[in-house]
């Protein structure tokens, strides 16, 4: 099966070379970080988590969003997702791999990372996050391998896989819930100390994940002979719109609670993000850009006529991914640290090597994804021929 990834067009190899380049640069920077420590990042005493952990958080959402295909297809027999459900599972696999790598590159002592398994600590949410993420990776590897293997051989998947597929549905919800609990269980950080964090994570995940999947399907349609089918893509578009509306509502609910209650320790973080505090305004343009793009995208995509045009749909989905990437992959984590627990205002911005390491991780994730998609599409073409 995997040999399908070894033959491809010039464009395919061009993409692979580009990803290899990203990985190479990232690896080089990582070796530097490995030698001299996390001092090469923009992280600091007051902002101890930044680009790496926020990418991890964003990608857990992408991984969890595979459930958006699995649930309608397997529980409600929504046939239109039949052709792309494996693409969703493959996206989940590559996203979880990226999550794990982002956590790994964030460690001060990466060689000891297995201490988490060696000294299991059930009271730590991080322990549970490692558990549910590894479990989710395993589930998706097993499910996609068994169901796709059966499809290639032209037989029905074995009956024993069905309960495992059903298990993967709440499991997908769990990975993003536990990831939200990493943040929302800390008395030290009033910005995250909100029960809406986990629901908000899920809503933004179900908007950004399917948006990414729509973009991938449209790219496949353009550059390969694979067509996901407009019914599947349109249904995903509807899911994106609803999830995005729910996310915007949740953000509004949070803003109301913090601003109307007028409690300084809750309000200050939002002030920092959207207005700046004492001249510290690094995040302000990004946050406004994110909110405006998100709002425009939802207004744009609400109109079914617009969604039916695949160019417009792609534009809207790109907006959703960018808006949520900024909101979750930047504002959510950094906003919790400014002001610090002692009221100081130390800002954060990732350094060039930090971004390069991050792009290297994305390179690995997209390389895995490309190989998996190549195999899936190659086998499908064989079937149809």
């Amino acid at each position: 099966m995997l040999e399908k990834a070894l033959k491809g067009s010039g464009k395919y190899w061009g993409l692979m070379c580009f990803l290899a380049l990203l990985i190479g640069v990232g690896l080089g920077c990582y070796l530097w970080q490995f030698r001299v420590g996390l001092q090469i990042t923009g992280l600091s005493r007051d902002v101890p988590w930044g680009f790496y952990i926020s990418q991890f958080t964003f990608l857990v959402g992408v991984a969890a969003s595979a459930v958006i295909l699995v649930l309608p297809y397997y529980l409600h027999d929504f046939k239109a997702f039949g052709r792309i459900v494996v693409l969703g599972e493959f996206l989940a696999i590559s996203a979880v791999i990226m999550c794990m790598l982002f956590v790994f590159v964030d460690m001060g002592q990466p060689m000891r990372v297995l201490n988490v398994m060696l000294h299991p600590t059930p009271q730590s949410v991080m322990f549970w996050d490692v558990m549910v993420l590894s479990g989710y990776l395993l589930l998706n590897v097993v499910i996609s391998r068994v169901t796709f293997g059966a499809e290639v051989r032209g037989v029905a998947p074995p009956a024993w896989i069905k309960p495992i597929i059903v298990l993967s549905i709440p499991w997908a919800v769990s990975i993003h819930t536990v990831t939200a609990f990493l943040y929302s269980g800390l008395g030290a950080r009033p910005f995250w100390l909100t029960a809406i964090l986990a629901p908000r994570f899920l809503a933004s995940a179900f908007a950004s994940g399917p948006s990414l999947l729509i973009l991938l399907c449209l790219l496949l349609k353009r550059f390969t002979r694979f067509d996901a089918g407009s019914k599947a893509i349109q249904k995903l578009g509807v899911i994106v719109v609803y999830a995005l509306l729910v996310n915007i509502f949740f953000v509004g609910v949070e803003l109301f609670t913090a601003l109307y209650s007028d409690i300084p320790e809750h309000k200050h973080h939002f002030q920092y993000l959207f207005l700046g505090l004492e001249g510290k305004t690094t995040m302000v343009p990004w946050m406004w850009f994110s909110q405006i793009v998100g709002l425009l995208a939802v207004l744009f995509l609400l109109n079914p006529k617009v969604r039916e045009n695949e160019r417009f749909l792609a534009l809207g989905c790109l907006g959703v991914v960018v808006a949520i990437w900024i909101e979750k992959g930047l504002g959510m984590v950094v906003g919790g640290f400014v002001p610090s627990t002692q009221g100081s205002l130390m800002e954060y911005w990732p350094t060039a090597p930090e971004v390069a390491i991050g792009l290297g991780v994305y390179g690995i994730g997209f390389l895995v994804l490309t190989v998996l998609y190549k195999v899936a599409l190659g086998e499908r073409e064989l079937e149809e021929a």
Binding site: Q39, R45, R112, S124, L182, G187, Q342
Partner: protein, 261 residues
């Protein structure tokens, strides 16, 4: 320290064996304890070490660094000048930042700007211990919140979880920033978290923490160390008879560093 660690490992192994139930039990149990001990001292027959800071006496000695220097020299704490990467076990900050919830617009300038000595609070309900995924930071039987720098994976979850900014991460190799490495205390490697340990190594030898000793020797006498479980101890009497504040009381962490303003 060794016996505390062993005690701790026993408890941890028990908790791990019980799995999820044990995890949930431990934080619910901690809450029950918080409720029962609201008006009473901590239970248990052992020692419960604590520290009391007289901020007025401390502030009388403007610019005094006796305790800070003693601590940092004793424990090979690096002197890194930039604020982003600094490592500190004991330091000073102004009242207006330390007690944000106690000062207001009419608080006087002297009070607002008065420096307060800060260190790890050695909480009875420490969030850093709760969040650590490897038990590299743990609570010892007689009070101090400890750090095992050899087990720490450098995830910095404890730094994020501590409400007091008491934890420092080694963003780079600290050794070049230590003037004279004292071989009696191991310096840390880069990539791990460190913090005040209430001088557990000195307590084991029957000595007071280095900061307290230095403060007393300097004549300031602003620091008081003792056992809260000993009803006749000086610290217990002071905490009982004056309004001794703890930082961010509302978070339920039950710090064991007391301040009189």
């Amino acid at each position: 320290m060794a016996s505390g660690r062993r005690e701790f490992l026993k408890t941890a192994a028990g908790a791990a064996a019980l799995g999820l139930g044990a995890g949930a039990g431990s934080f619910l149990g901690a809450q029950a304890l918080a409720r029962s001990s609201a008006g009473q001292p901590a239970a248990g027959g052992g020692k419960r070490y604590a520290l009391a800071v007289d901020t007025k006496k401390c502030a009388e000695r403007e610019g005094c660094r006796a305790c800070i220097d003693a601590c940092h020299v004793t424990h090979n704490v690096p002197r890194i000048e930039n604020r982003e990467e600094e490592v500190k076990w004991v330091w000073k900050e102004e009242v207006q930042w330390v007690f944000q919830d106690r000062v207001h617009e009419y608080s006087g300038e002297e009070l607002r700007r008065r420096p307060v000595l800060l260190l790890c609070n050695h909480c009875d309900n420490p969030p850093c211990v709760r969040v650590c995924p490897t038990q590299a930071t743990f609570k010892s039987a007689d009070g101090p919140v400890m750090m095992d720098p050899h087990r720490c994976i450098g995830c910095r979850y404890c730094v994020v979880g501590c409400p007091y900014g008491a934890r420092s991460f080694n963003w780079k190799d600290p050794k070049p920033y230590i003037e004279h490495v004292d071989p009696a205390y191991p310096p840390r490697a880069r990539g791990v978290v460190e913090k005040c340990t209430m001088c557990s190594e000195r307590l084991a030898r029957g000595l007071e923490p280095a900061c307290v000793e230095a403060c007393t020797r300097s004549g300031a006498g602003a620091l008081l160390f003792g056992d809260m479980n000993e009803p006749e101890s000086e610290i217990r009497k002071r905490v009982e008879s004056s309004l001794a504040l703890r930082r961010k009381e509302h978070l339920g962490t039950r710090p064991q560093v007391y301040y009189t303003l």
